[in-house]
Amino acid sequence: MEFIDYYKILEIQKTATEADIKAAYRKLARKHHPDLNPNDENAKKKFQQINEANEVLSDPEKRKKYDKYGKDWKHADEFEKANQQQSQSRASSGGQQSYGGGDFSGDFSDFFESMYGSGSGGRTRQTKFRGQDLNAELHLNLMDVYKTQQQTLTINGKNIRLTIPAGVENGQVIKIAGHGTPGTNGGPNGDLYITFTIANHPKFKREGSNLYANIDLDLYTALLGGDLQVDTLDGKVKLKVAPETQSNTKVKLKGKGFPVYKKEGEFGDLYITYNVKLPINLTEKEKELFTELSKLRANGN
């Protein structure tokens, strides 16, 4: 286990008084408190450390043990006892002293304990009211959110049947009320917050409910026009390409985009951009004909 220097965490000297500790804790807690830093994992982690440091250093007994035993302060009593026993046995046998083997896992105490409950601070709030909120991340493909679907998620060992509405966006957070940890003393359960991470589609880019796709167009269809079959998320669609279509021309396919979130039956549009591909590896005959064509347009346009 890595040694955690609580003094360093609270940015105080080892000689700090109780008032110094309190002031340092308040100052840092105001800076890193999760309530004041929403969705900031670093702040949350930092606050956990500050809280842990404060829990130990603001209690004279715990501080004394921490100063003496460092990371293993929680086991100070066991050490003291072992020390006494070993002193006794050393007195009789002259054996070597060794505390060895004690890789104590001194986890950070759950910061919620002091935030919501068991009164580590000045207050004496003992009872919890509302359960803790839980956060989960759900990774999906674009097609997974094209249609409203149900999925069973396992969160904290509990199965939750979830309806994922069509049109959910990447990064969107959905609150599932009452699926956090249970409340106490008859209080409501916390909520479950699910953040959706939606992978890009290889063919379609999405912006809100609109989709964007690039389609290659051969030179002859671009010049002379013709019919084209394009893929949409809804199946294939036949398109008429107008003669003399330029590269980068955009075509809007109304209602062929993505479903609008929570608006059943409403869809965005699909925008298709044509990329005109020039033929390569020309034969001698083709070169001849293109040269002939070029002569028909003296200025090249």
């Binding site: 935030m115 709030r125 003992q126 009211f129 509302r130 909520d191």
Partner: protein, 99 residues
Amino acid sequence: METRDLILIEHFCTNHDIEFSFIDSLQAFGLIEVVVHEDNKYLHQEQLKEVEKMMRMHYDLDINMEGIDVISHLLKRVNSLQDELRITQNKLRLYENED
């Protein structure tokens, strides 16, 4: 009136060991809405999270009511900026090359 989704403020204050005046102050600053029914004062259940957050600011972090008011407004702005950032990041994905 249906009080199932309402939390009796008296219970809330007892459970959290806080003064009733704290809730009154939040109401006076327009930070919460208090429902009065048959001489009892209630909080909407959906407000609980916010009230508890403000309670932590006040009691754990020593922030006064004016500070809570300012922070609440700023947090609303942070939330809306985070939403805007998410939308912008999604727009940027339009230009990302997948292959």
